[in-house]
């Protein structure tokens, strides 16, 4: 039933100058901005709400800054490989694209694994979302925020990985028949991926360093 030809899938619209897909993903990202914006604004409100001595620095709260830093680098690297994957397609070099894209996915997984170890470490120290700081019963929602923020972000990373995997394994075939369209899809996947990276760029200092 969807054999209909719906215009501006691959060619940009004369007025807006972008393809429908691109406009769509940007609209989605705009709503994501509001989603994470709400998280951060809540963070600010809660932080000024509690007494300052109830608010730990990331280090004090036992967050591992070196690991966090490393993870940041991992995510940034995955971003550049993502761009390269797209660029390779532009220069229709499918081989390079495959390598870069696979690397992106791998780095994404690495990020999740590391995050997983961080969680495990917290749990082993009996630190859970419901834990107060410095000790149980102290009124600071810090750990709650930490787990919720990173958890939600990790969810986004996982989602991105799934989509990318699908594109890499089943999607790529499209490149032979309709390179324009497929390159567009990779660009869209990229936009999402970079946004997730961008969110982390704020999450990291807010949770680990401040």
């Amino acid at each position: 039933m969807s054999e209909l030809v719906i215009p501006y899938r691959t060619e940009p619209h004369p007025v807006t100058g972008v393809t429908s897909g691109k406009l769509g993903i940007w609209l989605f990202l705009a709503s994501e901005v509001m989603l994470f914006g709400a998280l951060f604004s809540s963070y600010v409100l809660l932080r000024v709400g509690v007494l300052q001595e109830h608010w730990p620095l990331g280090v004090e709260a036992g967050l591992n800054v070196p690991i966090g830093t490393f993870n940041t680098i991992v995510l940034i690297t995955s971003s550049i490989t993502m761009v390269m994957a797209w660029a390779s397609l532009k220069m229709d070099n499918v081989g390079a694209y495959k390598k870069y894209f696979a690397a992106t996915i791998a780095l994404g997984l690495l990020f999740l694994v590391i995050k997983g170890f961080e969680y495990g470490d917290k749990f082993s120290h009996h630190i859970f979302p419901a834990t107060g700081w410095p000790g149980a019963g102290d009124p600071s929602p810090f750990y709650g925020l930490y787990f919720t923020f990173t958890g939600l972000h990790a969810l986004h990373v996982a989602l991105g990985i799934l989509v990318n995997l699908w594109l890499l394994i089943w999607g790529t075939a499209l490149f032979k028949t309709d390179p324009e369209c497929f390159t567009g899809r990779i660009e869209i996947a990229g936009l999402y991926w970079h946004f997730v990276d961008l969110v982390w760029i704020f999450l990291f200092p807010v949770l680990y360093l401040l």
Binding site: M1, P7, G24, F36, G144, F147
Partner: protein, 574 residues
């Protein structure tokens, strides 16, 4: 449609269709059923309010003893019904009907598109809506029943509430996802798929209203999504985003970290919920504009001012939400700020209503059934909107806050306001959707009875509110000022039940007319907008040849034109 049937088979055609018209109709039926269900919940509550502690006739016997005691309603069941009525009506009734149904069916037709920009996304949006709806309804069968903390789900109450609240949150997350996908799709469709020649100021007002609505949904919903996640964490993982320290519930200290803020929830909720109320009304205004232009047989008066007001309204609606929170004890600086923005935002509504009213001047007004509903919308929304003004000022709100005056205020805008607009839309586009015309006599019967009883339901609430009777009261008569207005309560309840009876002609009409032999013409209302340029009912792909637009949306009674209506896709000679 006909030929595509065999190609695709039953499932792809009716259940997992990606055709915007089918999806629109799916949305419509589902939403109407939910509307009626939400109404039924309320009719039970109205019994308890009219005859406190007396056994509910018929239904009372069927309910479990967790909800009724010897047929008489229990307080916690009352609270469940209230919360679910609100949730169902807003998120599962009006929004899917106004945006999902009318948006999906009409917008692509009116802009001359073959379909929505992302048909598969469209289908997913409907499926998410259905899942959300099922989750919500299933919560009635949980131990402890459905959510019972009001549709506003204020923390901390909602966090110490039973499992129903968890389902409410999960259901909301699905409904929100559905709305986001839909909104995104509408914006791209309207920006990209307009027929050649259909410039922005040639768009029918309805399309404009859907565009603004889509932006409201897209940008206002995510914060509630975040809030829902927070509340889920509070309930399931023991965090305390919304829980301050030292809570003692039922004599037992609450095991929670504390350090959270109950008001944070309210901010995140109302950041959505005020734009949401405009989501409830704008599509309705759009429909009314269409119907009025068509039945006055002349162009809308002040089309551009209306569009600008719409945009302004949409933008500012993100900056007034705390007028729902005057009584939480905010400082006077901020309450002044929100009083000012609230007064400002009422002006565009005044402008739109003024333009619609003046549009009647100089017309040749046909009192068709959709027109009747559209005309009734004006004063009904007028009452609802005007009663918003005293609420918008903190000092009077100190008396009205959370009284039946508020209930009366917003029901006047959503029930005889939006619901009437929805009915107008149904009567107006039904022939296009089904290829059959609705029966006029039944329609008029439905209209007059609904009009009478709608006012019978909601006008008394204004006076109850004046008397200071609080809302969400299982039994208002335990207060002296509550007992004093019991006569009005009775009137409301009986009107509500009669209002339900008044829907019977509609339901009969709705289903019987489909079976009619004779088909409706392509353009029964002699309208100008593009949806009437399609065959009836429109086939998959809508237009026989892609339309080109030559003029504005409401070219009625053009001097020297052959007919009293000049369709947008007809080139005018000369």
């Amino acid at each position: 449609m006909s030929d595509t049937h065999d190609e695709l088979g039953f499932w792809r055609t009716y259940v997992f269709s990606t055709d915007h018209k089918t999806i629109g109709i799916q949305y419509g039926i589902t939403a109407l059923v939910f509307l009626f269900f939400g109404f039924s919940l309320m009719m039970m509550m109205r019994w308890q309010l009219a005859y406190p502690g007396e056994a509910i006739p018929i239904i009372g016997g069927l309910l479990g003893e967790s909800s009724v005691d010897k047929g008489a309603m229990l307080p916690n069941f009352y609270n469940q019904l209230g919360a679910m009525h609100g949730t169902i009506m807003v998120f599962m009734g009006i929004v899917p009907l106004a945006v999902g149904a009318f948006g999906n069916f009409v917008v692509p037709l009116q802009i001359g598109a073959v379909d929505m920009a992302f048909p598969r996304l469209n289908m997913m949006s409907y499926q998410a809506f259905v899942i959300g709806g099922i989750v919500m309804l299933s919560s009635f069968f949980l131990p402890g029943g459905a959510a019972s903390s009001g549709w506003t789900s204020y923390a901390p109450l909602s966090i110490t509430a039973t499992t129903g609240q968890t389902f409410w949150l999960i259901g909301m997350i699905f409904l929100i996802a559905s709305s986001l996908l839909g909104a995104l799709n509408f914006i791209v469709t309207i920006l990209h798929l307009r027929a050649p020649g259909l410039t922005f100021f040639r768009l029918p007002f309805f399309v404009w209203s859907q565009l603004v609505t889509a932006f409201l949904l897209l940008l206002a919903f995510p914060p509630l999504q975040a809030a829902a996640v927070f509340q889920l964490m509070d309930r399931l993982a023991g965090t305390s985003f919304f829980l301050p320290s030292g809570l003692v519930v039922g004599g037992e200290p609450l095991a929670a970290v504390g350090g959270g803020s109950p008001l944070l929830w309210q901010h995140l909720f109302w950041f959505l919920a005020h734009p949401e109320v405009y989501v409830l009304i704008l599509p309705g205004m759009g429909i009314v504009a269409e119907v009025i232009a068509n039945n006055t047989r002349k162009p809308l008066w002040g089309y551009r001012p209306m569009v600008y007001s719409l945009l302004f309204l949409g933008f500012l609606s993100f900056g007034v939400w705390a007028h729902h929170m005057y009584m939480t004890g905010m400082g006077t600086t901020m309450s002044t700020f929100f009083q000012i923005t609230t007064m400002i935002i009422s002006i565009p509504s005044v402008i739109i209503l003024t333009c619609l009213a003046i549009s009647l001047w100089g017309g040749a007004i046909r009192f068709t059934v959709p027109m009747l509903f559209a005309l009734a919308f004006l004063p009904m929304f007028g009452i609802g909107g005007l009663t918003g003004l005293p609420l918008g000022l903190a000092a009077p709100d100190a008396h009205f806050h959370d009284t039946y005056y508020v209930i009366g205020h917003f029901h006047y805008v959503v029930a005889p306001g939006t619901i009437f607009a929805m009915f107008a839309g149904i009567y107006y586009w039904y022939p296009k959707a089904t290829g059959r015309a609705l029966n006029v006599t039944l329609g008029k019967l439905h209209f007059w009875l609904s009009l009478i009883f709608m006012n019978g339901v909601f006008m008394p609430m204004m006076f109850e509110g004046m008397a200071g009777v609080s809302r969400r009261l299982f039994d208002p008569t335990i207060y002296e000022h509550g007992a004093a207005v019991h006569g009005l309560t009775m009137m409301t309840s009986w009107s509500a039940w009669c209002l339900a009876l008044a829907q019977i002609p509609f339901i009969i009409n709705f289903f019987m007319s489909m079976r009619k032999k004779e088909r409706a013409q392509e353009n029964p209302w002699q309208a100008t907008t593009l949806e009437w340029a399609t065959p009836t009912p429109p086939p998959h792909g809508n237009f026989t040849e892609p339309p080109v637009v030559y003029c504005g949306p409401y070219e009625y009674s053009v001097p020297g034109a052959p007919n009293d209506f000049t369709p947008q896709h007809v080139k005018r000679e000369s």
